[in-house]
């Protein structure tokens, strides 16, 4: 979709349909055909598609819209501003940090914009294991195509790859692994490497500058700074939602909010949607699957130090990937993050730590996201008024060899590309490895799950879809088995992890779901 300049009148009308925190001076009570909770990639797509079809839509978002002047340029403050629980959310059990954004556009504001269509075998497995006969790659292609056109999804251009990403390609080439520039929802990337803190170039097509404005243009109402606290049940239907206006950053609650709607779409994210259902009287849970089956793509990373500086700051945040080992269970990516974030996993202290920091200009970081299907967890509502989830997750011992293999593969790649040394980030072994021979230790069974520094930024399956009502929360179109007019549209409906970055799939499924809702209304 081309982005034509809108007239001043059109923009004024769009502003009239947007509410920000300072605009609320009384309680809010509105009605709509559809209320969508959450403005992340899935929620924004649903809101736009419904509005484009002429339906009356209200889109609710707890966070504020950010403007480029409000982006923090370093990691710590940026996460504190844009992430729930200030970016310090952790699981119990196996301790894994995980994040969820709180801003208009959700995670799309602060992710790497990676858009990958899962291969057909991913959907085939979903279909076979979870009785989802109509969720095939072929059936979703039109939805992928439409989202791709809207967001300008395209391979990362060569001129903004930068040395970090090109070294990744070189490593794959030396070892004979396939690799490709990552497709992203970006138009005009300048290679600033600022995806995680907000794209000052306004090149990343995050939802706040793409789908949300388009939804406003088509007549949707967008209410930011609204925290939904409960769904209002009425027999086997939901009458609407209630909540409160909350101040940005402090979360201080003020005016009451009630939205009555014919259809409610929960797109609050895989960690918040089950909490809302539980807080609303354990809704949609005859299957007892709400909040269960929590899965991540545990991410492991290796830092490699090269002989010469490599202009680390320049280049797309994540510009290259390899799908060589996808069927074996992991996907390889190049990665850049603000040093403050990377430093969390830098070993040592004192002079040793400073020596590693001094190597930052020569250091590239590559990661692997792993499909650990056996490692499951739960999302539970906490007592009291808090809507923050209690997360419990266990890395299954049988999944640990996969992570070890992924780490070892990354080590191989670094040495193939000419790195002098690598930092594998594994406890109880040498923090610095100088050769492939030394890196063999990464495959040792002595490396246990708790020795690995893992991150869990892709989250799935807490309200999974399943063909049978007794085994899942929603059907293939995201409609709750138990409730007539409640839909869920976030990665919680994935029946299990998709093996690739999930945003694109979530948006394609959301588009299909929106069309089903339009057909129904």
């Amino acid at each position: 979709m081309s982005v034509a300049l809108r007239s001043a009148e059109e923009l004024t009308a769009m502003r009239g349909r947007l509410r920000v925190f300072a605009e609320y001076d009384r309680d809010v009570h509105e009605t709509a055909e559809v209320v969508v909770i959450g403005s992340g990639p899935a929620g924004a797509v649903v809101a736009y598609e419904l509005a484009a079809a002429g339906r009356d839509v209200v889109l609710l978002e707890e966070g504020p819209p950010f403007t480029p002047g409000e982006y923090e340029l370093e990691g710590g403050l940026s996460m504190a501003k844009t992430m729930r629980e200030s970016g310090l959310r952790m699981t119990t059990g196996s301790i894994v940090p995980t994040m969820q954004a709180i801003c208009l556009g959700g995670g799309s504001l602060v992710n790497s914009a990676i858009c990958v269509r899962p291969p057909a075998w991913v959907f085939d497995a979903w279909s076979e294991l979870f009785e989802l006969r109509d969720t095939t790659r072929a059936s979703l292609e039109p939805h992928f195509d439409a989202v791709g056109e809207m967001l300008g999804i395209a391979p990362t251009p060569e001129e903004v790859q930068g040395p970090r990403n090109l070294l990744f390609r070189e490593a794959c080439g030396v070892l004979g692994y396939s690799s490709e520039p990552i497709e992203r929802n970006v138009r005009g990337c300048r290679g600033s490497g600022e995806c995680f803190t907000g794209c000052r170039s306004r090149a990343k097509q995050s939802m706040d500058i793409s789908y949300v404005p388009h939804a406003l243009e088509r007549g949707a109402r967008v209410l930011t700074s609204v925290q939904v606290q409960q769904l209002v049940p009425d027999g086997n239907r939901i009458r609407g939602v209630t909540g409160q206006v909350v101040a940005p950053f402090t979360g201080k609650r003020s005016h009451a909010v009630r939205i009555d709607a014919d259809i409610v779409v929960l797109a609050a994210g895989c960690m918040a949607t089950p909490v809302l259902l539980q807080k609303s009287g354990n809704l949609a849970n005859r299957s007892d699957q709400v909040g269960r089956n929590l899965q991540f793509h545990p991410g492991v990373a290796v830092a490699g130090v090269f002989p010469e500086p490599i202009d680390v700051q320049f280049g797309a945040t994540q510009g290259f990937q390899s799908l060589e080992f996808l069927e074996r269970g992991f996907k390889l990516e190049s990665l850049w993050a603000p040093p403050a974030v990377v430093a969390v996993r830098t070993p040592g202290f004192g002079h040793e730590l400073l020596e590693h920091f001094a190597d930052i200009p020569r250091t590239a970081t590559w990661d692997a996201i792993c499909s650990t299907h056996r490692s499951l967890g739960t999302v539970r509502a906490r007592r009291g008024r808090s809507l923050d989830p209690a997360l419990r997750w266990h890395l299954h011992p049988e999944d640990v060899p996969l992570l070890r293999t992924a780490l070892h593969t990354l080590a191989q790649m670094f040495f193939a590309a000419g790195a002098e040394q690598i930092l594998p980030g594994v406890a109880r072994m040498s923090p610095v490895l100088h050769s492939l021979e030394e890196a063999e230790a990464l495959l040792s069974e002595a490396v246990a799950g708790r020795d690995l520094v893992t991150g869990g930024n892709h989250v799935f399956s807490t309200t999974r879809m399943h063909g049978r009502p007794e085994s899942g929360v929603v059907d293939e179109l995201g409609r709750c088995h138990d409730l007539d007019n409640l839909y869920i549209a976030d990665t919680g409906i994935f029946p299990r992890c998709p093996s690739v970055n999930p945003m694109y799939t979530a948006m394609a499924l959301a588009r299909r779901q929106a069309h089903a809702i339009v057909d129904r209304l």
């Binding site: 809108r6 990691g75 251009p157 290679g191 500086p309 202009d311 320049f314 830098t346 400073l354 020596e355």
Partner: protein, 217 residues
């Protein structure tokens, strides 16, 4: 008699506890909005030991005002997480009661130890066989590391200070006001719009963002 001894013991314990936990810290600085003096002292002492002078990065922990950064960070932190970080600081300050630092009076609070004792105390956490102790150490190192690496001076030395990037003015910028402001306070009008990014790579020889440019420590 027994009761009197009990009361006296209680008073003595209370006095010792108050002395250890609350007294003897420098007075509060008006520039710190969220941190207590004891937290400022712990952060300063731990930063000196974590990032000593004379290291491979010519910016010592004492150069970067870690407490100043953490104070701003605390202002943005989720209340529950702020409490957790506060408890982390208390734990480190007083864990010397259980894990004595080598050298004389190694049971004193962390911020009262000599630099060498603090380094050894940190080493005890870092190299501990206990997974929990190592994890707690990692948490402290993360807090200090974020502050250290987020400082403009450190970022310049490591060649990762952000460049000046002029953001294009798009339709979205005509929709959203600065956070906390009303829609009437949107900075731009339709006439201010500029072309979207054309994909020209950033200029690696260009100026650093003013917030990260050279200035006195």
């Amino acid at each position: 008699m027994l009761f009197a001894a009990f009361v006296v013991s209680l008073v003595v314990c209370f006095a010792l506890g108050a002395r250890r936990f609350l007294l003897g810290y420098p007075p509060a600085s008006e520039s710190r909005r969220h941190l207590a003096p004891r937290e400022v002292a712990l952060l300063g002492a731990a930063t000196d030991a974590m990032f000593p002078s004379g290291g491979a990065v010519p910016v010592a922990g004492s150069d970067v005002d870690t407490p100043g950064y953490v104070d701003v960070w605390f202002g943005l932190l989720h209340p529950g997480k702020r409490l957790q970080v506060r408890l982390l600081l208390v734990l480190f300050e007083h864990a010397t009661l259980f894990f004595w630092a080598p050298g004389p009076r190694g049971w004193r609070r962390f911020s009262s130890l000599s630099l060498q004792q603090r380094i050894e105390a940190l080493r005890g956490w870092y190299a501990s066989r206990s997974f929990v102790r190592r994890t707690v150490f990692t948490a402290l190192r993360s807090v200090l590391g974020i502050a250290y690496l987020g400082h403009p001076t450190t970022m310049r030395h490591l060649q990762v200070a952000p460049y000046v990037i002029a953001s294009p003015v798009l339709d979205a910028d005509l929709l959203y006001p600065p956070i906390g402001r009303s829609l009437d306070e949107i900075a731009y009008t339709a006439a201010d719009r500029t072309p979207a990014s054309d994909g020209t790579p950033i200029d690696l020889a260009g100026p650093v963002d003013p917030r990260y440019a050279e200035r006195p420590l």
